[in-house]
């Protein structure tokens, strides 16, 4: 990662969240990882002035209460949040989910592989990309 701000993971499945946590640890990614369970909690976290704004959001699509697409609709209209890059991390290969996500300005769309070692490679690629790419600062 280009900087040391936190990464926000929005994921309702405990085991999927564990997979990201493990991958971040296995890859020695130093950014703190914050995990919330759905879109509403993500907005709450992002709008709480006590929290540092993340440099990257990893977003699941199928979630209870507020799903990933609904979250994007709100976050991308919010001036303080719209520039934070969002990478979708999902099992959905459905075209409509990809269309909706890119229409709403996501920076990437990754399908979670079933195999953990392949999953680590996905996280490695995301980390590497955002090490080379510029990330807009939080202000």
């Amino acid at each position: 990662m280009k900087d040391t701000r936190p990464i926000l993971l929005v994921e309702d499945d405990k085991v999927d969240a564990m997979a990201v946590t493990r991958a971040v640890k296995d890859l020695n990614i130093r950014n703190p990882l914050q995990t919330v369970g759905d879109g509403e909690q993500a907005l709450e976290f992002l709008r709480n002035p006590d929290n540092d704004l993340p440099c990257l959001i990893l977003l699941d699509i199928n979630m209870p209460r507020m799903n990933g697409i609904e979250f994007l609709k709100i976050a991308k209209k919010d001036e303080k949040l719209r520039r934070i890059p969002v990478v979708v991390l999902t099992t959905s290969k459905e075209d409509h989910d990809k269309f909706d996500s890119f229409d709403l300005g996501v920076a990437g769309y990754m399908i979670k592989p079933a195999d953990y070692l392949k999953f680590v490679e996905v996280v490695r690629a995301v980390d590497y990309y955002w090490t080379i790419s510029e990330i807009p600062s939080g202000t």
């Binding site: 085991v15 564990m18 997979a19 099992t91 979670k112 079933a114």
Partner: protein, 257 residues
């Protein structure tokens, strides 16, 4: 279809607008059940797979993180767990492929079976000693490529997988039957008892214990469904000890030749 004793000709002689309404009703019903099937395939592919993936990852992490604590027996149990998860994945994949045939209206294309078969044999890469011999020139047919591939892939793969002799032979032939092509895939393997000939085409039926061959029992069911949807026929001639020959016919379409 025959309602309350009405004769079919009576139903047909009804007012034509009546007939149109019936057709529209039937079409709507068909569309509804098709959508249901699509939904079902999605539930299977997504909702059933998610927890399975989680189980697989957790088992893998236990094996990894506790490798120093687990004794041999514990490791064996985890490996069994992982192999059953793979089997379940295979079954789910099978159901998905099965539900896809005929549901998605694929457009046919010209498929040169000679080159297709070469690719299929390369993919299977039979062990040394097993020969796949194409005895006749194979035709180019109008077919959905993936379906043609699946048909020959499963037939040849089965012959290779169950071969019980060090010198195995699998012979493939095509015959021009006028309005159709007739293909055969023959092997000198163990053969199949005639009482099981119907059973092998049923979904998830296997003739050998699952622990001996990691076979889901979907292959021949898929082949049969592909052949059926294209208006052809498939049957088997075999006896224990006498090898097995699968025959299939496919009706010719416009561009065949």
């Amino acid at each position: 279809m025959n309602e309350e004793g009405r004769q079919p000709e009576q139903m047909l002689s009804d007012d034509p607008t009546d007939l149109e309404t019936r057709c529209a009703d039937l079409k709507a019903q068909l569309e509804a059940s098709n959508n249901e099937l699509k939904e079902f395939a999605y539930i299977i592919s997504h909702d059933l797979r998610a927890p399975l993936r989680a189980v697989s990852q957790l088992a893998g992490w236990i094996a990894n993180d506790y490798s120093g604590v687990l004794d041999e027996e514990g490791k064996d149990l985890i490996n069994l767990l992982l192999s059953r998860i793979d089997r379940m994945e295979g079954l789910i994949q099978g159901i998905l492929e099965y539900s896809r045939i005929g549901r998605v209206k694929e457009k046919g294309q010209r498929v040169d079976l000679n080159s297709l078969l070469g690719d299929v044999v390369d993919t299977i890469s039979p062990p040394e000693g097993i020969q796949v011999i194409v005895e006749t020139q194979l035709p180019t047919i109008m077919f959905e490529y993936e379906h043609a591939e699946q048909m020959f892939q499963h037939l040849v793969d089965n012959a290779v997988k169950f071969m019980d002799k060090p010198e195995g032979e699998i012979r493939i032939r095509a015959e021009d039957g006028g309005d159709h092509w007739k293909f055969s895939v023959a092997d000198n393997g163990p053969g199949i008892d005639p009482t099981s000939h119907d059973k092998i085409f049923q979904i998830f039926q296997t003739l050998s214990p699952r622990d001996e061959s990691e076979s889901t029992g979907i292959g021949l069911t898929l082949v049969k469904k592909i052949v059926d949807t294209s208006g052809g026929d498939i049957w088997v001639e075999s006896e224990v000890g006498a090898g097995t020959t699968f025959f299939l016919t496919l009706p010719k379409k416009g561009d065949d030749g």
